[in-house]
Structures are given as C-alpha cells and as structure tokens.
C-alpha cells in the first residue's frame, strides 16, 4: 500500500467522518482541532503524555505469547497485546490521559464523557481525579445495571454518574445525553469522547492517542522476530482499540488486519451490533459512518452481551477502511465470545473483558487456517473483572 494520509483537513475519511454537530458546538470543535494540532507538535505535551503513560498507566504493556492457547488452536502462534494490564484495566486510559492533558492546556475545568461498559467512564474519572478536573459521566440505565462495579468505581474516584433513561438506555443514548450536556456547557467543559467517533478531530485524535498500542506491538514483535506478524485481530464497538492497534500497520500490506464486531445472537437476527457487516452509511453523533438503521434512517438498537460493543455505529475511519478493503471485518456471537473467554481463563489464567473475548474467539478460528510458523497478535483490550456477574448469569453450565 502507498502512503496512507487520513483524514483530510475537514476530518473526512473518504465520504466518512466530518463535523455533523449543532452550530453551538462548532466553535468548540474548531478550537479543539487547533489545540490538538498545536499539542501534537509540542515537545512538552508529548513529554508529559509519555511520562504519564509510563509512570502512571504502566506502559509498555507486554506482548505475551499465549503458548497454551496456541497449542489448543493448533495453527498459528497467538500473541496477546496485554492492554488489560494498563491502570484501570483497559486501553481506554491511553486516550483519556491524552485528552485530559489537552483539556488542561485549553483551560477547561470540567469534563463530560459517555460510557458503555464503564471502562471509558472509569478511565475518565481516574484522570480527572489525577488532574483535578470536575467530572460528569453519562451512562445508560441498562448499562448501569450490567456494570454496577464500574459505576461504584467512578463514584469512588469522585465522578458524578448520571443515569440515562432515554432510548435503548445504552451507549448510544449516553452519547446523546453527553452531547446535549456539552451543548449546554460548552464554554468551560471538554468532552472526552471515548472512541474513534464523533465530530472531527475526535476520530483522528483518539486514534492517535490509542496508536501507542500498535506502535509498541510493532516494535516488540520486530525486536523478537525482525518482521511484522502475519495477522492482527481486535474487537470493534466504536473501534478505538482496533484503530490504535491497526493504524501503525496500515501501510504494511503484508499484515492482515481483522476487526471483529459483536454478532450478538447472530447477524441474521435483529439482535447484534455488527454495524459494518449489516449497516449502511449515515450520520450520527457528529460523523458520517456505517450505522444500524431502518429504511427511514431511524437508528436501531444494537445488542451485544458486552456493553462496550453495544453501539449501532462504528468510527468513520473503520467505515473507510472497510470500503477500501484494507481491513477485513468479521463478527463473533455472544456464545462464541463466552466460550473463548472460558478458554482463555482455563488455558492462560487470564480473564479477558467480554469485548476482548470477541477478538480471542476470532483469533482461535483464524489461527486454525494458518501455520505454526505464522503469528496472530490479538489486542486484549481489557480485563474481565467488570464482567464476572454477566458471565455468571450467562453461563449455561456450572463450572
């Protein structure tokens, strides 16, 4: 592949992306774009970020050879990029540290954020505590029920968690409320969007902050083997861990990039979250992207056992990468994800997040089509402690 430069200056990835926001937010979005460009090229900002990522978040994270899982799959070697070992237990903090530092530079004192599984909410509440920022988190009522532990963690960290009771009461509706809050408090508030979604510059900025995952993986793998892995697999809700993982490899055409969506009860049912596989392009939450919607353009409810993948859209850059064919998008059902989760627990002693279990499930399948001289890297985006109650409730058989 030739040089990949995306997005353009207006934040478009081909036809996708852009800034589809109410005029009240335009000034904030334009200012954020400028502030981010400045920070990106500022040594001090990059030093502050690198310091926190190393000393506070605990990077770099290991690239672990899952030998037992590989033997079980009986194909390619499976490596796990251990984002679950980050402070707060998921990749989400890579982005919140970056955006919170930016908010401080911009003189904002208050932070608003949406959360689905609660991992982004916890990661946001954490950096707000660290940097002394006031923090409001919007979370769907349904997700609050599913993720009690994370709600309490956010509150313990000093954040105010607001229950969202509109619509499907999940991540999509939490985004709506966070945007409404931002529209009403835009002068002193920064919105820490948690995924590669929303109006420009968010999809680009979140990708850049998350790219630390792919950069480290590339370096770690190349140090050991002097080449890139043959395949990389990551799960996709909005798409931030996968985008951060894929981005440094996009120009390396020999690396197969596979994004795994949540198929819920199956992509031929009404209950899934496979926006790229089953959706059509449309406009939601500030960007043009693939969306689950009906023929009249009403957004449909997504379903996944994992709250973090339960979103009817997918970031604009993924939408573009699908259309140009650079990334292959697959899906994994609730049941397959649960199986993979159990397997990883038993074989490797690692409890993955339900989100990440989707990537593990696909990697096991895919490894079987490859040889033992080849490798797959899985982005293990988060740990599963938050999910144990859901897992317990969904286990068909006793342990």
């Amino acid at each position: 592949m030739t040089t990949y430069v995306m997005p353009d200056e207006k934040g478009h990835f081909g036809i996708y992306g852009g800034r589809f926001v109410p005029e009240t937010l335009m000034q904030a979005v334009l200012e954020l774009g400028k502030a981010y460009e400045k920070a990106k090229n500022d040594k001090n900002f990059q030093q502050d970020l690198a310091y926190l990522l190393k000393e506070y978040v605990g990077r770099e994270t290991p690239l672990y050879y899952a030998e037992n899982l590989s033997k079980h799959a009986n194909g390619a070697k499976i490596y796990l990029k251990r984002e679950d070992l980050n402070h707060t237990g998921a990749h989400k903090i890579n982005n919140t540290v970056g955006q919170a530092l930016l908010a401080v530079r911009m003189g904002k004192k208050k932070i608003v954020a949406e959360t689905g599984a609660g991992q982004h909410g916890v990661a946001t509440a954490t950096v707000c505590a660290l940097l002394n920022l006031e923090c409001v988190i919007f979370m769907g009522e349904e997700d609050i029920k599913r993720q009690q532990l994370n709600v309490f963690r956010m509150e313990l960290l000093g954040a105010k968690v607001v229950s969202v009771t509109s619509g499907s009461r999940t991540l999509k509706d939490a985004c709506n409320e966070a945007l409404r809050y931002w529209v009403s408090n835009v002068t002193d508030t920064h919105y820490i969007l948690g995924s590669v979604m929303g109006p420009h510059p968010f999809p680009m900025m979140v990708r850049d902050f998350q790219s630390v995952i792919g950069k480290e993986t590339k370096q770690q793998y190349n140090e050991k083997f002097g080449k890139n892995p043959e395949a990389i697999v990551a799960c996709i809700g909005g798409g931030s861990n996968s985008m951060g993982m894929f981005y440094p490899f996009i120009e390396d055409s020999e690396v197969q990039l596979i994004g795994v969506e949540a198929a819920g009860h199956g992509i031929d049912t009404e209950q899934h979250a496979a926006s790229l596989t089953k959706g059509k392009p449309g406009v939601l939450h500030g960007a043009l992207m693939y969306l689950l919607q009906d023929h009249a353009g009403q957004i449909q409810e997504a379903h996944s056992i994992s709250a973090g993948l339960d979103y009817p859209g997918v970031g604009p850059e993924h939408s573009y990468l699908k259309d140009i064919g650079r990334v292959q998008y697959e899906s994994i059902t609730d049941e397959e994800a649960l199986e993979a989760l159990k397997l990883l627990c038993r074989l490797e002693g690692i409890i993955p997040a339900l989100e990440s279990a989707h990537a593990v499930a696909y990697a096991i399948k895919h490894a079987q089509t490859m040889t033992e001289n080849e490798s797959i890297v899985v982005c293990l985006s988060g740990r599963g402690d938050k999910d144990v109650q859901t897992i317990q409730a969904n286990m068909k058989e006793a342990l």
Binding site: F20, L25, K172, S184, A296, G297, I299
Partner: protein, 260 residues
C-alpha cells in the same frame, strides 16, 4: 420569489414581526397534520416549521424529544410526511419549512428527498446537525430546487463566523438564543439583546430568534431585538395538551411586538 421571501416582504410592508411555530409531524398521528397547519395559518403564522421525528435528536430538549418518540411510535417517517404535505399543500398557503436531522434525509437519498420535497411544496429546510462546513452535501441541490436552507447561528459563534453564515443565508437566519438544547427557559442571558442586535447589523436577511421562547412576554421582548421569533417546545406541548387557545395567544403576542 420563494414563499418565505414573499412572507417576509409582506411583513415588512405591514411593519410586523414574524412568528414561526414549530410542530412535530405525527405527534398525535399524521392525520392531525392538516388541521394543525390550517389552525396555525389561521392564527397568522408567518411560516410553519414541520419537525421530522428522529431517534437521536441531540439538539432537542425533553418536550421535543418526547413528541418525537410519540410520532415515531405512531409510525411517522419523512416519506409519509412529504406525502401528507403534498395533499395538504393546495389548502395551506403559508410557507412550510422542514426541520430534520441529517440522517433521515441521507437514508432517503438526497436526490429523491429533494425531488419529493419539491413535489410536496416545501419552501425551506432546517438541518440542525449540518454546520456550514458540511453543507456542500445538500445545499447546492436545495438551491437548485428553490428550497431555502435556513442556517443557524448561536451565542457561541464568533461575529466573523455569524457574518459568514449570514452571507450564505437564504430565507431567514435562525439565531439560537440559548447555549443549549431546545426547551422553555424562564429567562435569557443579558447578552442576548446585544447578540441579536449584532446579528441584525451583519445579516442581509431577516433574523429570527429561537430556542427557549415560551411566553407572550418573551415573544414581544425577543422580537423587539430582531425580526421575529420561532417557538417550538411550547407549541408542541400545547398541541399535545390540546390547549389551542394558548397557541393563539402566543402568536397574537407577536402582533403587538414593537417594530423599531
């Protein structure tokens, strides 16, 4: 001349302020639309904004959100609304402006949407999640079809930007009077009068204030700083509660507004 331009022309000649009510199409059933439009026309509305329900209305407060949910539950779609308006159009001569988020139009197909909107006799469109940065997607086609794209300016838009938007503007300029979402407010920021006067000074087209206006007093006050007002949430609420005389009362207030 487009019906919107004509309406403002006639207001100016008669030294009057504009009153543009908003209703949610399909709230109470789409079969209500004809009566609602005739009622608003008879009350003296300058133009009527017809809201298209959307599952994720991020610029709207609770009153319009709930009306949208009711309309969606009764099965309202953009296509059905256009068909209904086409039937009503020979009876209603008031300018009709669609207010819809971008996605229902995108899903419809921009070309088909404009074709059907022309057929229905739509005079203008307000798309709250379409800032000027993205309007290339649809603005040139609307213009070709003689449908005015009504643009919004807000308290957070710097004056140079307001000027840029105003110059592109067609029909009228919609000045959002609160930093926030739609819905009744008991009071407005002190700076609103200056904001509206500043916009008036740079806008070549009429300026209407909207968002948060809910009482006859506010209709008169905010109308005095510009060319009139748009009232949404309160009208939607009164229609829902079947308090038609309250709507009449609000529209009447615009006729007493001081024309300076």
């Amino acid at each position: 001349m487009n019906r919107i331009e004509k309406a403002f022309h006639s207001l100016k000649e008669n030294n009057r302020k504009a009153f543009v009510p908003y209703l949610m199409a399909g709230d109470g059933g789409l079969d209500q639309l004809m009566d609602q439009l005739i009622f608003l026309e008879n009350c003296g509305a300058t133009a009527i904004e017809i809201g298209i329900p959307f599952s994720d209305p991020v610029a709207d407060g609770p009153a319009i959100q709930e009306a949208g949910i009711r309309a969606l539950q009764s099965g309202t779609s953009l296509k059905d609304v256009l068909v209904a308006i086409q039937t009503i159009r020979p009876i209603v001569s008031t300018p009709l402006i669609l207010m819809t988020y971008m996605n229902p139009i995108y899903a419809y197909g921009i070309g088909s949407f404009i074709h059907d909107a022309v057929k229905a006799g739509i005079d203008g469109c307000i798309i709250p999640d379409l800032p000027i940065e993205e309007e290339e997607l649809i603005a040139p086609y609307l213009q070709d079809a003689n449908i005015e794209l009504i643009r919004l300016v807000t308290l957070t838009s710097p004056l140079e930007r307001i000027e840029e938007i105003a110059k592109k503007g067609r029909g009228f300029l919609y000045a959002v009077t609160v930093t926030g979402i739609t819905g009744a407010r008991t009071e407005f920021n002190d700076s609103v009068s200056k904001y509206l006067k500043d916009i008036k000074s740079v806008s070549p087209i009429p300026v209407l204030a909207g968002f948060g206006i809910s009482t006859p007093e506010q209709v008169v006050e905010l109308g005095s700083y510009c060319d009139g007002v748009v009232v949404g949430s309160k009208i939607v609420q009164y229609f829902h509660e079947k308090k038609l005389s309250e709507i009449e009362h609000l529209i009447q207030a615009s006729k007493t507004a001081d024309v300076s």
